[in-house]
Structures are given as structure tokens and as C-alpha cells.
Symmetry: C2
Subunit: 206 residues, 2 copies
């Protein structure tokens, strides 16, 4: 049985929950409260020295477990051999392209403003980071919009973990003071992802 170390309000955690639901894979979910520092305890740091969720604990032979961190590496592992990760060499590399785009050019500018507002609060000094982060987030949305104006999905014209990775925080971008109105193709893609068979929402309150 797989164990997912997770936090409900994390889009990175949601990526893993979504692919696990789509693939109908049973797992145990352990919730660690980031606001209370539960990813920095000695017990969790022994599992993931980088002290972040999500992390997937899986069997690695008799009596041995291994912990795989990094949301997009978990997506890759779980989707390998499924329709959500293409087998064609170039298409796989293009999935990687968008996964790295998400972590480097998107997540810090879409997820972090949301985190600051929801978890630190609008009076926190880190609110000063928002203008620059929002500007770079808009640059990421513009790249996505340009691509989605010509394609229904990010790679090989079908739903893959590239879409899942980018959907996770894009569909919550408004909670980080982003406005998606200028990106119609991107908004149609959000709706397209949300209506895929087997889709689950991120939060029980959604």
C-alpha cells in the first residue's frame, strides 16, 4: 500500500491525489500541517531530508520502503505505463518540459502569492513580494495561453501529467490575487481538465 504524506491545501499534494484518483490506486494519506511545522520534525526529515510534502512512501522489496519526494517526480512515477504519460520519446520529453516550466517559471509566482495570502495573511511583510511575483505569474500564463490557443492539452493533444501539474495551482490562481480574465484559451483548458472522467476536486469545500 502506498502512503502519501500530504497537506490538503497544497496544490503540489493535490497533483498526487488527482493522479491516484484517475488511476484508481488505493493509498493511505497522512496529513502534515505545514502551518504547524509538521514537515520539519525529525521523524519526517528522516523520510524526506528536504522537509517538504508531498512525499510518496512505497515498497522497495521485502521489508524495505523508499520515500519519493517532489510532486512532479511522483506524477512521473505513478503515471509511468499509463495513458497519462506518453511513450513516444519526444512527447515524454515535452511532458518533462512543461513539468520543469511549472516548477521554475510558474509555481513560485502562482502558488507562493496564494500561500502568502492564505497562510501568512494580508498584513504579513511578505505581501511586499506580490507585485513582482504576480508579474512573473502573468508571464507564465501568457506562455500557457499562447500554447493553448493552438492545442487542447499541453502535449500530444491529450490529457497528461503535464496538464495535471499545471492545473493544480492555475485553477487556484485567483486565491493568490491573479486574474485569469485575459487568458480565454487557458480558462477553456481549466474547464476541459475539470471535466475529464474521474476528476476530483482539490478541497472538500470546493
Amino acid at each position: 500500500m502506498l502512503t502519501l504524506y500530504d497537506y490538503l491545501d497544497s496544490g503540489n499534494g493535490y497533483k498526487c491525489r488527482l493522479i491516484l484518483a484517475l488511476l484508481n490506486i488505493p493509498y493511505t494519506r497522512i496529513d502534515l500541517d505545514l502551518d504547524k511545522g509538521e514537515t520539519r520534525t525529525p521523524d519526517f526529515l528522516a523520510r524526506n531530508p528536504n522537509g517538504r510534502i508531498p512525499a510518496l512512501e512505497l515498497d522497495d522489496g521485502p521489508g524495505s520502503t523508499v520515500v519519493l519526494p517532489e510532486s512532479n517526480a511522483i506524477l512521473y512515477y505513478l503515471a509511468d505505463g499509463s495513458p497519462y504519460l506518453p511513450t513516444d520519446r519526444l512527447a515524454r520529453a515535452q511532458v518533462m518540459q512543461w513539468l520543469f516550466f511549472e516548477q521554475y517559471s510558474h509555481e513560485p509566482y502562482v502558488a507562493t502569492p496564494r500561500w502568502i495570502i492564505r497562510h501568512l495573511g494580508r498584513t504579513h511583510p511578505r505581501m511586499a513580494e506580490l507585485p513582482e511575483r504576480l508579474e512573473k505569474g502573468r508571464a507564465a500564463f501568457a506562455v500557457m495561453e499562447q500554447h493553448l490557443a493552438k492545442a487542447d492539452f499541453f502535449v500530444a493533444n491529450r490529457y497528461s501529467i503535464a496538464d495535471i501539474a499545471l492545473y493544480a495551482y492555475t485553477h487556484r490562481a485567483h486565491e493568490g490575487d491573479h486574474d485569469l480574465t485575459p487568458y480565454p484559451a487557458l480558462r477553456r483548458w481549466l474547464e476541459r481538465v475539470a471535466t475529464q472522467p474521474g476528476h476530483i476536486k482539490m478541497l472538500p469545500t470546493d
Copy 2:
């Protein structure tokens, strides 16, 4: 023939040059000067809308080319089917783990301080970012040190693109005011990578 859009002083570009050399793959290199904004021209943005190097242009059927950006996606594409990317499912996911660690938890704190010092200069206002970036860089080195104290390489005990990705900026970390003295296992690993058969250096002046 492959074309690599590159910049000599970029560690991300060097990752691609290194795997191309190790695999003995011929390619044309086009140098774009980041300091002169040559990655933001209409011509280059038509190739990579995200406006970053490295980007690999490759054949995609008769008369058609495709541009693959993101250094770690390029590493993945080039190494696929070679000894530098394991075939085992978990080992491949662990390669991904370290590639995402590199882009999210390492590059902004190791490459960016170096960039600020070398390309903006020590009197630039962005020097104010250094203390926080260096602190997070030390956290990344500590994670690497803990791993390398027990293993010669990052994945499956052999040289892979996970090592190449992490080597690129770690071996220049001192140029970003980092001090690697406290990380003996990491320093031994740097030496181990530099002495692999077929290794090339990053700059002609090295």
C-alpha cells in the same frame, strides 16, 4: 543535426553541452548573449516563448523542426536510451526527483547569486537578495551532503543526468559566494564527476 541555443556562462547550457559530449552527439551551437537580451528577440521568442536558453532544436519529421526548452527536459531527451538515464521505473523517478530538486531548491539559490555577482555586479541593488539565497543554497547543499555521505552518485549508485544537472551550478558555487568547505562528501562527488570518461569543462578558460 541538432541545434543548441546556448550561452557559455550558463550552467543550464553546460548541462546540455556535457551530455552531448558524453554521448558524442554532433550539434551546432548558437550563442545568445543574455546580457544583451538576445533571448528576448522576436526570432528567438518564436522558437521558445518562455525566452530562455538552453533550447534544443531537433528534427520532427520531414521539413519540420521542434524546439525543446528546459535544460533538464533536454537532458532527459538526450539521455533516454543511454546509460545516463536508468531504465528501472523507480530509479527513473528518482532521477526526476533530483532534477526537480535542482530546479526548485538549488538553482535559484546557487545559480542566481553567481549570476548577480558576475553579470549585474557587486554594486547592483539585487545584491540585497544574497543572504537569503545563500542560506537556502546551504540548505540544498546539506541535503546533497547527507545523500552523498552514503552514495557515490545520486541515483542507483552510478553516474546519471541527476549528477549532471546538480554538478552544473554546484561546481561554480564559489563564484556566487558559496563556501563548500563544510560539505566533504559533496566535494568528493564533484571530483568524481569531473573525472568521468569524456568529461568536458564548462568554460574555455577553466
